[in-house]
Amino acid sequence: MPTEAAPGDVAVGFRLTGPGTPVRLLLSELWASRRLIAVLARKDFLVRYRRTRLGLVWVVAVPLVQAAVLAVVFSSVVPRGSTGLGSYTAFVLAGMVPWAYFASALPAASTAVTDSANLAQRIYFPRLVLPLVAVVTACYPLVATLVIFLLAVLALGLGLHPELLWVVPGGLLVVGLVTGLGLFLSAAQVYVRDLRFAVTAALTVLFYLTPVIYPIQRAPERAQDLIRVLPGAGPVELFHRSVGAADPLMWRSVLAGLVWTVVFAVAGLVLHCRRDRVLADLL
């Protein structure tokens, strides 16, 4: 009989009995969706620059302007040499690379599920995919700012030295951190819509609390230990280390960053496992 080839793999499908998905099933579906994440992230990144005349130039131009402004403002406000940390400009630029990623990717990841209501209500894929798409999308500009940072280091005459390799664990930690926080917040935000604004507000406060643009030694001594365990402190300190401006107790921040990552990733995974199939009901 002239029939077309039987469609696809008949093993796929689903059996739904309640709002949850077992963690192994969810993770295997997530693994099966890895190309979907890449394709959606690439799309989300590229469509931003559609219809702009300069296109992808903006990916580099915006952080370049931001870096230049920071460099001029902070190096003129802070008395030269007062920090004992080498070039203060390099210090600020180093801190801003992970922070810029943190501050742009975290809100996007937190609202990823609610912002995709249109898609999520009509076709199923693990809802975990959505915050991960936001995490990956923000990696494109992260790479751009990293390149600018390295060029700036050269321009400031600091030279390429092995310490710069600290940006690798720094970059990985900040991506991991946003992944962990984003997994949890993306599901929680469906139930508590206030989180959208709470995250924005928290980031504003954290920018000044976290030693992004000032060395932690400048903070009151009593507060330093508390500051070290703030979520963004770990990646920021790793980046500072890359320009030779290390907090001697950097590892506390890194450890805290890992704890934030793991705790929220686990909580996020649990929440997604429990509510994966009903999140769309509330969109």
Binding site: T3, P7, G8, V12, L40, L119, V278
Partner: protein, 395 residues
């Protein structure tokens, strides 16, 4: 026959939040107690075999969308089990996931990936998709420049060429032009023969009747019919003609309907009438209580389900009915319809304070056949006078 879709005892409830937009913190806390649940589907059992095409019909709010959402897996049942074998492609408002700034080709890649195709599969099917959608010369144009028809064609082509095991179609084919609709149904028939299961949700009874042998009718979350589409459509119109009030559904028992019949001028019951005949739709009831201001509603639909006419002259006062009385209400008219089969529904209402009225009872629908004038086509026969006037005579 292998089962493609199975629902066992499926109930789906949603929690309704009472809070409204802009409610402040205080308002939010106060209204929290007033959340209530809404049952969209009640105890639904359904089995669909591989390669079947099943229509889902029902009035707005009957649970059709919820059923589709369960079938594509975006929501889970509150109780019961939903099982779907194979990959599901929803054709629900096609073009979900299409980005207006991206070209047709780029959107095919993204959409294909969302539907679970690999890069290689997308590449392999790209030509077929473009050809089916007839978008060869527009495929590298951003889709925001597409007409709505082109948009639907592309969405349909991607979903169908993705060759899912289960295809869910929701009221989307109404957008394309007629020729394209025909090709869609042809293509859907092809993939169905190849083993794809198709579920169609539509208010278009022609589409349901033409494409689905089997239909289920949903009413307030329950499956009230599961059988042939022919009977399903009749059931649907029966429900639709009852109006949507749930409080009155024959439970008032103010009247008992005996019959709805069609009569010619001599009073003889008929089921076949001719253009120009004077006929009466007679609704015979017995009153169980006093009814002060009764009036009759009459609705005529074409066999394809198009409402041709409906009227209820509550402005014309009829004598009241006394308890125990038996009465025949008659709606008289001259048949001005083209050839075809029709159904008529009629119900008895009580006028409260105008314009409020209470549905007392409705009769089972009546079928009849009209032999119209040979030259007339369409939904109704308006009996135009054709003539000519020479505006500029040539000598």
């Amino acid at each position: 026959m292998t089962t493609a879709i199975s629902l066992q005892g499926v109930t789906k409830q949603y929690r309704k939040y009472a809070d409204s937009a802009g409610s402040g913190a205080l308002g939010r806390f106060r209204t929290r107690t007033s959340t209530s649940t809404l049952t969209a589907l009640r105890d639904v059992d359904l089995t669909i075999s591989r390669g079947e095409s099943v229509g889902v019909i029902g009035r707005n709010g009957a649970g059709k969308s919820t059923l589709l959402q369960l079938l594509c897996g975006v929501t889970a049942p509150t109780t019961g089990v939903v099982e779907v074998r194979g990959r599901v492609a929803p054709l629900i408002s096609v073009g979900v996931g299409f980005h207006p700034e991206m070209t047709g080709r780029e959107n095919i890649h993204v959409n294909g990936t969302i539907l679970g195709l690999t890069r290689r599969e997308v590449e392999a099917k790209l030509d077929a998709i473009v050809a089916f959608a007839e978008l060869e010369s527009f495929i590298d144009t951003p889709v925001k420049f597409y007409s709505s028809g082109m948009f639907v064609r592309l969405g349909f082509a991607v979903a169908v060429e993705a060759r899912p095991e289960v295809l869910l179609v929701d009221e989307v084919l109404a957008v394309g032009d007629f020729a394209f609709q025909l090709r869609c149904f042809e293509r859907m028939n092809e993939i169905r023969r190849a083993g794809t299961t198709i579920v169609v949700v539509s208010h278009n009874m022609n589409a349901i009747r033409g494409f689905c042998e089997r239909s289920i009718v949903l009413e307030r979350g329950r499956v009230v019919h599961d059988g042939t589409s022919f009977d399903g459509i009749a059931k649907y119109f029966d429900l639709a003609s009852r109006g949507q009030s749930d409080a009155v559904e024959d439970e008032d028992e103010a009247v008992e309907v005996e019959s709805l019949t069609l009569h010619d001028e001599t009073g003889r019951a008929v089921s076949h009438v001719q253009y120009g005949d004077s006929v009466a739709f007679r609704l015979t009831v017995r009153a169980r209580r006093d009814i002060d201001r009764p009036f009759q509603w009459l609705g005529i639909d074409s066999g394809t389900g198009v409402a041709v006419y409906s009227d209820a002259r509550f402005d014309v006062e009829l004598p009241p009915l006394r308890r125990g009385e038996r009465a025949s209400f008659e709606a008289r008219l001259v048949v001005r319809l083209p050839t075809g089969d029709y159904t008529a529904g009629s119900s008895l209402h009580e006028l409260l304070e105008s314009p409020r009225a209470l549905l007392l009872a409705s009769a089972p629908r009546l079928s009849f056949y009209v032999t119209g004038r040979d030259t007339v086509h369409g939904a109704t026969d308006l009996g135009a006078d054709f003539g000519v006037r020479i505006e500029e005579p040539v000598r």
